[in-house]
Subunit: 236 residues, 2 copies
């Protein structure tokens, strides 16, 4: 058996060993869900940026640019952080440069891992299958909200711990707690997460369809990983 | 209704507003349980120290000194961090200076709150009753383990959120999650927490009776608070 653990915030990631592990970065509402949607619907590759201005400059290099801060499209950006915007395949073949409040920062802070995957409910089972072929310890890195614990990333962590229980032993308090939480609340994610602070934030922005998408299980067989150049790419 | 929130680590406390709130510091295994036990059994007052050497020097001023690092009594200290050591009342009337790996650091980082309470299962209901008279927002500050989330402090947080639900609204993701976790696992704390990493650490040190004590509900009607001088004192 391999081990599995959960880090609830990029501000705590320095307390976890990354080396030799598969790190699954998750920002359910909405960065990692959007990344998976974009790549599943034809975007060729995604270059994540923690910094807004560095991301903006990629437009000159032919990239589509996606930028979000505090749940809203950053000024001057073509795309915000909505997964639904990619579902028609309108950006097929494009390269995307993307920066978000929490998710892209968490990717940056995961460097040093053996492998970095991008987690979402729409490709949960694909990610599980991929990990189970690798025989590596797993660390789930929740992006949280501005450094704080959040409910949706934590529930995804619980879902992943539960899905991997035949191969990965939850010998760590965060993983144990989130597995229990998912067992109790995972049967109706949407209803439970309607209480979550970021779901409320998004509802205020009128993006119910994004929330529906982000909580839909197993739409895609695609796994998303960070490649040697730092790009996010889809692997089938 | 007032609000209630949970901070899972002293390393995240800077993300929470302390002002105007009652902060309940909790380090179930074992610092805050030991503090409550000591005061319930006659210790006059406790001065907490984050620093080991500063604590040690209090012996010259007539204090009983308690010091723990990594679960073991610190070299040269009279007392470790065992609540059971106080149950016979052998230290009645003494002043205690105390430093522990996680708990005393969390107290120090809670400065700035309207009021700081010390939480434990043996005085949970007393703490609930006290808080409900105050009509203030509550922040539960989990000491964790070396900055990381831990199961026992989190479950106490869930128990407190649940116990306060008639007066304090869990409008925050950490509080919501821990309430759910306690609802699922709170019926048999000892069995569930036997999986927790720090319980295993303590079992290795042969202190089963400490674990039993720390998970016993409502032995005392005492509330423990930090007074204006920074001492912990019992309030009935």
């Amino acid at each position: 058996m391999n081990k599995i653990e959960v880090c609830f915030s990029p501000e705590l990631i320095h307390l976890h060993e990354l080396r030799g592990k598969i790190v699954v970065v998750v920002d359910i509402f909405r960065a990692t869900s959007t990344m998976v949607a974009a790549l599943a619907h034809g975007v060729r590759e995604i270059l994540p940026f923690a910094d807004l201005e560095a991301c903006r400059k990629m437009q000159d290099k032919g990239f589509l640019i996606g930028g979000e801060r505090n749940g809203l499209t950053a000024p001057g950006f073509e795309m915000g952080n909505s997964p639904v915007a990619y579902l028609q395949g309108n950006y097929s073949g494009r390269k995307l440069a993307m920066t978000t409040t929490n998710g892209t920062q968490a990717i940056e802070k995961s460097r040093g891992a053996q492998e970095i995957l991008i987690g979402s409910f729409p490709n949960l089972q694909a990610t599980v299958t991929y990990i189970q072929k690798k025989e590596k310890d797993v660390l789930i890195h929740c992006a949280g909200w501005k450094g704080r614990f959040n409910l949706e990333d934590s529930l995804y962590a619980g879902a992943l711990v539960k899905s991997l229980e035949s191969t990965h032993y939850a010998d760590e308090d965060g993983a144990l707690a989130m597995k229990s939480l998912f067992e109790k609340e995972g049967h109706d994610l949407k209803s439970y997460l309607s209480q979550a602070s970021h779901a409320k934030r998004l509802q205020n922005h009128g993006i119910e369809s994004d929330i529906d998408f982000c909580l839909t299980l197993d739409l895609y067989e695609l796994v998303v990983k960070v490649d040697g150049r730092g790009f996010l790419v889809g692997v089938k």
